[in-house]
Each structure stands twice: as C-alpha cells, then as structure tokens.
C-alpha cells in the first residue's frame, strides 16, 4: 500500500513569474517523526526526490541526543556551487498517514552550521525508487 500526502500551499509576497504570476506555491511537505537516541520530534519536512541524501539541521542532532564529533562526514556541493561539510548519523523515521504508519532506520546528514531543524530538511527519495516507493519504507 502507498502512503499518500497532500501538497501544502504557501503564500508568496511577490508573484511567481514561472507560475504565471501566482501568489502561492504548493510543496510536498509531510509530517515525519525523527527518532534519536534520547528524543524524538514530529517535524514537517520537504519531500525532495532530487536530493541525494536526507538532511536535517545540525541543532536537531543535539536535541535528538546524537553526538556528531566522530561521525563520518563528506563535503557536499549544492546548487550554489559551494561545499558544505555534512556529518552522518543513524536515526529512525516514522511516517504517518491517517490510516497507517511505517518505521525504518536511515543514515541522515547534518550540515555543519545549519540552524533550524526544518530549514534545510530534505527528505530524499531512495535511489531507483519513486516517491511512493520511498514512502512505503523498506
């Protein structure tokens, strides 16, 4: 079975040219519980099939009880072309819909210096799978 979520509508303060002057944009923002060693939080995250990795802001790691000091890292280059160091640690995800839930573990990235939990939150689709395939969990 496939979990399905509606897009969320966000208002703009200036017209979006690519949308013919619309004053709103719709984004696939979904609620996901992130479970760490000491805490868990239900956050709204952007489901981004173009992301290679799932990332959360660094301060969430501390709140979840994750020690990133000796975590493996990689220097990733984003759209802007500048590199950012990302440290990786395991978390457990719980994805809910009104009718069912799925839970699985994954290695996720925490970019150094990122400040708010959801600001850089990107939930990546698993390689070779579709949106809905990822949403079903392993």
């Amino acid at each position: 079975m496939t979990l399905q979520f509606d897009y969320r509508r966000f208002s703009l303060t200036s017209p979006a040219i690519a949308l013919g002057g619309a004053l709103t944009r719709d984004k696939p923002v979904i609620p996901v519980t992130v479970i760490g060693p000491t805490n868990s939080y239900l956050v709204w995250g952007l489901l981004d099939p173009g992301s290679d990795d799932t990332v959360f802001d660094e301060d969430l790691a501390e709140l979840l009880g994750i020690d990133l000091d000796n975590a493996p890292f990689a220097d990733l280059i984003g759209v802007g072309g500048s590199a950012i160091r990302v440290r990786y640690a395991p978390v457990t995800f719980r994805l809910w819909s009104p009718h069912e839930r799925r839970e699985w573990s994954a290695l996720v990235g925490f970019p150094e210096g990122s400040r708010s939990a959801a600001q850089s939150l990107r939930v990546a689709a698993k390689q070779g799978e579709t949106h809905s395939g990822w949403a079903e969990g392993p």
């Binding site: 200036s14 609620p31 239900l42 802001d57 501390e62 819909s97």
Partner: protein, 77 residues
C-alpha cells in the same frame, strides 16, 4: 488573573486536516521561522528562529514537545 492553556493531544488525522486547511496567508508573518503546532494542527503554540530556540521556549512554557508538530515556514519570496 492568569489563564492556563490546555494543550491538545497529538491527533494525526486532525492535525493533517487542520494544517491543510490553515490559510497560507496567515503564515506569512512566520516566514523563515520555526513554529510549533498544537496537537490537532489548529493553532500555533510557539515561534522561534531555530529548532533549538523553539524547544527552549516550549520547555519554559511547559509545552509538551511530544504532542506538537514542528514546521519551518519557508520564505519563498
């Protein structure tokens, strides 16, 4: 006189329905902020610049973080 807010327990179905119905223009003041939604997604309980700050505010105000959903409101222009 003081009032005590009764925090609603987490209700995923209500939360998703109420969040979807929340007028997007009412979130404009919260662009680039992190907000905590009440358990049924009908009300904003706390606002901050970062996740860490939001959690500190919730702690200080006695808001049970396990019964809220947390969302960063993007500044999309």
């Amino acid at each position: 006189m003081s009032t005590t807010r009764v925090q609603k327990p987490l209700d995923m179905a209500a939360m998703m329905a109420n969040r979807a119905a929340y007028p997007p223009e009412q979130l404009l003041p919260f662009r680039d902020k992190v907000i905590a939604w009440d358990g049924d997604g009908s009300e904003i309980l706390a606002v901050a610049d970062s996740f860490k700050e939001l959690c500190a505010i919730m702690d200080a105000e006695g808001i049970d973080a396990s019964q809220v959903s947390i969302e960063w409101i993007p500044n999309l222009g």
